[in-house]
Every structure is written in structure tokens, then in C-alpha cells.
């Protein structure tokens, strides 16, 4: 297909690059920094997992990339989102629209509410072809059926006129995926795509995403709080906390030897069968109130590696070698701790 084209692009420019992104919410209680200097990039055929709990700014980051943030109350205070070198934040709304859904597309957590209840699924997929490609109703419907087959919906031709509520959760998410990949986007952002699904279905959806990525060579940004989901499919991970990237690493490195106390805490809080009966570990404390960010390191109040330095010095994302980064003063200590 278009693979050759894509790979022959200027290799020095990343496909999608987020640089020092700052997003604020102006509320009555004050200014809330939801995203505070986030940087990452994703290339063709690459899967970046953005990890973090609710309120860490991962969804806001995704919505900023897509340009579907509600503004106001959100304000983009700084930074850039570059698609093939072009800063999307500087584009006009029509220019932005030409990229949204066609070059960069997105799927959401709850497919039932994300699909329009009053239109058939086929209509909703076909809308992409009719509006963006000017296809006839009939041609677009044919393409919709093909897409439904591509995401493995059984009896696609028969079900094309059914409505979202007539499908199971997993099938609905497949329809969302079909809609998102309709126009062969180069980047797909999946915002917690499996959170609302059964565990067995979760695995099927992840497999499907991996399969589609294999076929098309698109870059995938997978936003999740579920470490288990990430392990198999992601290449790299960016761990977010309180609006910042705490750690960036290859998935294997991050799992084997986390370089940030937060990543470490997340990994330790996964229940393990070989420790059945023991107490479940959880990171003490709660995520910070972003209106009243603690001084120094935002994770400090919950951290067992903290020192006086953490109270005053906000750690930058240290380059710790091997393409990894950690926003912790004591990353070496954390790394060593893992090896013990």
C-alpha cells in the first residue's frame, strides 16, 4: 500500500513529536496545570505506551494532539505538537480538520457512548468516506463492510445496518477501530481502549491493534493505566504523573529495572500469583492536587527515596543512557534497588 511512501520520508523528522507541551485549565479556584512540559515522539511501526493513573494528564495530552480539547476551560500554554515537522498547534481549524481523522485518528475508552446511538454503525464508518473522500452512499457502504471485515466483525455485510446498542462491548470497540483506520491514518491514538471490556476481550482488541499496525505501519500511541495491557504490544513507554513524564524507556527496560520510584511502585502494585495470600502493595498516599502542586518533585510526598533535595529541586528528565530518561534525582539508587 502506502508503506514505501511512508518509510521513505525524511527519517530525521519523527512522525509525531510532542515537545514541552503545557496545557492549563483555568478554573475558579485557580490555574491547574494538567500537562506540564510533556515531550515524547512516535514513529512509523512504533507503539508508545503512555502510562499513568487518572489525572496524570495522559488523556489531556492525547486530546491536545487530536485538537479535540474543550477550549475553554483548557488553554494550551506552550509547547508544540509536530506532525511530520509541522506544528499542529499553529494550524487554522480547517487545516487541523484535514489531519484529524485522516492522518491522526483516535479511539476512546467507552465505545458505547463514543458511537452515535441514532446512526447505524455502517453509516458512521461510511461517513468518513462520504465526507472526506466524497464517495457515494453505496460505495462508502461497501467500504464500511470491508473495514468491518478487516476488524473481524462476523457477518459484516449483515450487520452493517445495525446500531451500536445491538453489538457487544468488544464488537463496538472494533467498530470504533474500523472508523479510526478508515482513511489509513499514520498515527492512531488509543485512549484506554480496553478499560471498559472483559479481560479476554481486552486481549483480542490489543491483538487486533497490533495486527492492524503490522499491516499498515502506523504509529500507535496507547494510553492506559494498565501495565498488563502494555507489556506485549508496546515498544516504548512514557510514564506520566501529575502532568509530567516521570520516566521514558523501552518497555523491557522499564519493566526489568525501573529508573523512577513511581514506575517501580506501579510495577510492585501488580498482584502476583507467586505471592498469593500476601498483602497487596499499593503506593502510599494519593496523587497531588494539581492546583496545589507540592514544591520540588511532585511525587516526593509518596516516595520512599526522597531526600531534602527533592523538597526544593524539581528534577528534570535526566538522560540516563540507553535512550532512557528519568525525572528523579536518585534514579541510580532506584535502578540499583531493582537489581537487588
Amino acid at each position: 500500500m502506502t508503506l514505501q511512501n511512508r518509510d521513505s520520508g525524511d527519517s530525521s523528522v519523527p512522525l509525531l513529536e510532542v515537545e514541552d507541551l503545557q496545557v492549563e485549565f483555568h478554573t475558579r479556584a485557580g490555574v491547574l496545570k494538567a500537562v506540564d512540559g510533556v515531550s515524547f515522539s512516535v514513529d512509523h511501526r512504533e507503539t508508545l505506551a503512555v502510562l499513568g493513573e487518572s489525572g496524570s494528564g495522559k488523556s489531556v495530552t492525547a486530546q491536545t494532539i487530536m485538537g479535540i480539547l474543550d477550549m475553554p476551560p483548557a488553554v494550551i500554554a506552550g509547547g508544540a505538537v509536530r506532525y511530520r515537522g509541522t506544528d499542529l498547534l499553529g494550524l487554522s481549524p480547517p487545516e487541523r480538520r484535514a489531519i484529524r481523522g485522516q492522518k491522526i485518528s483516535m479511539i476512546f475508552q467507552d465505545a458505547l457512548s463514543a458511537l452515535n446511538p441514532v446512526f447505524s454503525v455502517g453509516w458512521q464508518i461510511a461517513e468518513m468516506f462520504r465526507v472526506h473522500r466524497g464517495m457515494s452512499r453505496r460505495e462508502a457502504k461497501k467500504r464500511a463492510i470491508e473495514l468491518m471485515e478487516r476488524v473481524h466483525i462476523p457477518a459484516a455485510a449483515k450487520r452493517v445496518d445495525d446500531f451500536p446498542h445491538q453489538f457487544s462491548g468488544g464488537m463496538r470497540q472494533r467498530i470504533m477501530i474500523a472508523m479510526a483506520i478508515a482513511l489509513d491514518p499514520e498515527v492512531l491514538i488509543a485512549d484506554e481502549p480496553t478499560t471498559a471490556l472483559d479481560v479476554t476481550v481486552q486481549a483480542q482488541i490489543m491483538e487486533l491493534l497490533a495486527e492492524l499496525q503490522e499491516e499498515s505501519g502506523m504509529g500507535l500511541i496507547l494510553i492506559t493505566h494498565d501495565l498488563g495491557v502494555v507489556a506485549d504490544i508496546a515498544d516504548r513507554t512514557a510514564v506520566m504523573y501529575a502532568g509530567r513524564v516521570m520516566e521514558q524507556a523501552g518497555v523491557f527496560d522499564a519493566y526489568a529495572a525501573p529508573a523512577h520510584p513511581y514506575t517501580k511502585g506501579l510495577l510492585e502494585s501488580i498482584p502476583r500469583l507467586d505471592q498469593k495470600g500476601g498483602d497487596l502493595f499499593s503506593i502510599p498516599g494519593t496523587p497531588p492536587d494539581l492546583l496545589h502542586r507540592p514544591s520540588g518533585c511532585a511525587f516526593r510526598p509518596r516516595c520512599r527515596f526522597r531526600t531534602d533535595e527533592c523538597l526544593t529541586e524539581d528534577p528534570p528528565l535526566h538522560d540516563i543512557g540507553g535512550g532512557r530518561g528519568s525525572a528523579c534525582h536518585h534514579y541510580q539508587e532506584v535502578l540499583d534497588d531493582a537489581e537487588r
Binding site: 487530536m66 479535540i68 480538520r97 484535514a98 489531519i99 484529524r100 481523522g101 485522516q102 485518528s105 483516535m106 476512546f108 467507552d110 457512548s113 463514543a114 458511537l115 452515535n116 446511538p117 441514532v118 446512526f119 447505524s120 461517513e127 468518513m128 465526507v131 472526506h132 446500531f163 446498542h165 470504533m176 472508523m179
Partner: protein
């Protein structure tokens, strides 16, 4: 679908009987003698009163009267008024005028109410939104008959823009102001409802999806948002036909319009129930059918609603 329709129509039968009976009873409970003032300055001769009582069965028990009325009605005979005019003729003359008036009112409601509501829902807390809010508050707090009398005085008597009293032909142009008077309350309620519905659905996930699909704003709003917001709006319009008909009685009385409302208004004043009951029955029938149509429209608007 067919079975649903049949069931709904069968349900309408007891409703129709029940309401007509209530109307019948209420009208006959009005104080005063319908024949007392019919002979100018003098009291009517007993012979006349007795003859009238006999012809209109006023000396029989209420239930028997009602039975006769229903039996005749089912044969298409609505009887004569106390002035010996066939009721069917009166209704046939008046109905087109009221239909025109109702269409004017409906058009006003839908165009002004829905458009104002949708726009203020899309631009919440804007100047326009506040303007709509204050206007609806004002519209809701003025009773129909006050507004009718006021506009008649202001536009008709003071400024001379309209004729204070509508002519026998009741042309479309003449019915604009009375139509607005009838529609005012509902327009305000519709605007409020549309605003809330739109504002709420604007935050819905499927709207976000439509934006994420790269759909232009007119499609996001005109197709994805509006279709989902139509159900409460259509429901209100259907339910409101009742208000419309009540409004027609008062407003036709004020502007001297010879429609069904005016007919009822005149004959209630004369204690002549021969017209009041059939017209009220017609109103009930229209109301039942309109709401059936609304229920059927639901099914078209929202595939999750199915009739079995």
C-alpha cells in the same frame, strides 16, 4: 408496529369516552338557564322553555342525555344548536380558520423557540444566551389573555398596525399576531428545553467522536448533535397541542376570530353546550392522534426505541 398502532388506537377509545363524559358533565354543571335570556327583555314563555327542554332532552337524566349524544355522534349527527343551526356546519366553517391559526402558532414556536434554544445552547453564557433567558422568563410570566389584550391594544388601537379584530375571512396575515400570542408560552418553554438538551448533548462522547473524525462543525452540530436532541423537543411540541387549543379558545375570543376556539368561547358564554361538547371532543381526538404521531416519530429518531 401494526399491533402497536392498533393497541394505541384501542386505548384511545376509553380515553375519548371518559373525556367527553367529563366535559359533558362539567358543561351541564354551569349555573344558569340556557333559555332564560333568549326572548329579549321579557321572560320566555313557559311553552317555549318546555318545548326547548323537550327537544334538547334537558329534562332527562344526564346519563341518558349523554347516551343519546354519543349514539348520535357515532352516526355522524352532532345535532343542532339552540339557534337551530347544525353543529356540523358550524364546525366545518370554523375548523379551517383554527387550523390556519394553529399552523401560524406552531411555525412560530418551532422557528423561534427551537432556533433560539439551539443557538443559546451552543453559545452558553453568551450575551445571546442571557437575552434568550430573560425573554423566556418574561414570556412565561405573562398570561395569554393579558398578552392578547395588550397586543390588541398596542398594535391595533394605539399604533394601528393591525386590525384589533380579525375579519370573517381570517387571512394568514391577520392571524400572525394572534398566532404569536398563542405560541408565546410554548415558545419560551421550547427555547429553554432546546437550550438544555443541546448544551447537555454538546458534551456527549459521540460529539467528541464526530469532531475527532474530522467532521466540519456544521455536520457535528447539524447531523450528530441535532438528531440526538430532537426527541425531547418533538415530545414537547406534541404535548403542547393541548396548550395550543386552550390558547385558541382564549385568543380567538379576544381577537374575535370565528374559529373553533371562538365558537366554544361564544357558546360557553351563552350556556349552549351543544357546540362546546363536540368541539371539546374534537380537541381531545386531535390531541390523542398528535401524541400517537409523536410516539411514532420517536421510533424514526431513535433506533433504540422499538414498538412491539
Amino acid at each position: 408496529m401494526g399491533r402497536y398502532l392498533l393497541r394505541r388506537l384501542l386505548q384511545a377509545v376509553p380515553v375519548l369516552f371518559g373525556t367527553t363524559f367529563l366535559i359533558y358533565v362539567v358543561v351541564w354543571q354551569l349555573p344558569g338557564d340556557p333559555f332564560a335570556g333568549r326572548c329579549g327583555d321579557r321572560a320566555c314563555p313557559d311553552a317555549f322553555v318546555n318545548a326547548m327542554n323537550e327537544q334538547f332532552r334537558l329534562d332527562e337524566p344526564l346519563l341518558v342525555q349523554y347516551g343519546h349524544y354519543i349514539a348520535n355522534m357515532l352516526q355522524g349527527d352532532l345535532g343542532l344548536t339552540y339557534n337551530m343551526v347544525p353543529v356540523t356546519d358550524l364546525i366545518a366553517q370554523a375548523a379551517p380558520i383554527t387550523l390556519r391559526l394553529a399552523l401560524v402558532a406552531l411555525a412560530f414556536e418551532i422557528v423561534i423557540g427551537v432556533v433560539a434554544g439551539v443557538l443559546s445552547g451552543l453559545r452558553r453564557n453568551s450575551f445571546f444566551d442571557n437575552l434568550v433567558f430573560v425573554s423566556t422568563l418574561l414570556a412565561l410570566s405573562i398570561p395569554t389573555f393579558v398578552l392578547g389584550r395588550f397586543l390588541q391594544w398596542l398594535l391595533g388601537v394605539q399604533w394601528g398596525i393591525i386590525t384589533p379584530s380579525v375579519s370573517g375571512e381570517a387571512t394568514w396575515g391577520e392571524l400572525i399576531v394572534p398566532g404569536i400570542v398563542i405560541a408565546t408560552t410554548t415558545t419560551a418553554i421550547l427555547a429553554r428545553l432546546a437550550r438544555t438538551t443541546i448544551a447537555e448533548n454538546l458534551r456527549a462522547d459521540y460529539v467528541r467522536t464526530a469532531i475527532a473524525k474530522g467532521m466540519p462543525p456544521h455536520r457535528v452540530i447539524g447531523v450528530h448533535l441535532l438528531r440526538n436532541s430532537m426527541i425531547p423537543i418533538i415530545t414537547l411540541i406534541g404535548l403542547d397541542l393541548g396548550t395550543l387549543m386552550v390558547g385558541a379558545v382564549v385568543t380567538e375570543g379576544i381577537f374575535n376570530i370565528n374559529g373553533l376556539g371562538g365558537l366554544v368561547y361564544d357558546h360557553v358564554m351563552r350556556l349552549d353546550s351543544t357546540v362546546v361538547v363536540p368541539v371539546a371532543t374534537l380537541f381531545v381526538l386531535i390531541y390523542i392522534l398528535a401524541n400517537l404521531v409523536v410516539d411514532l416519530i420517536y421510533g424514526l429518531l431513535d433506533p433504540r426505541i422499538r414498538y412491539e
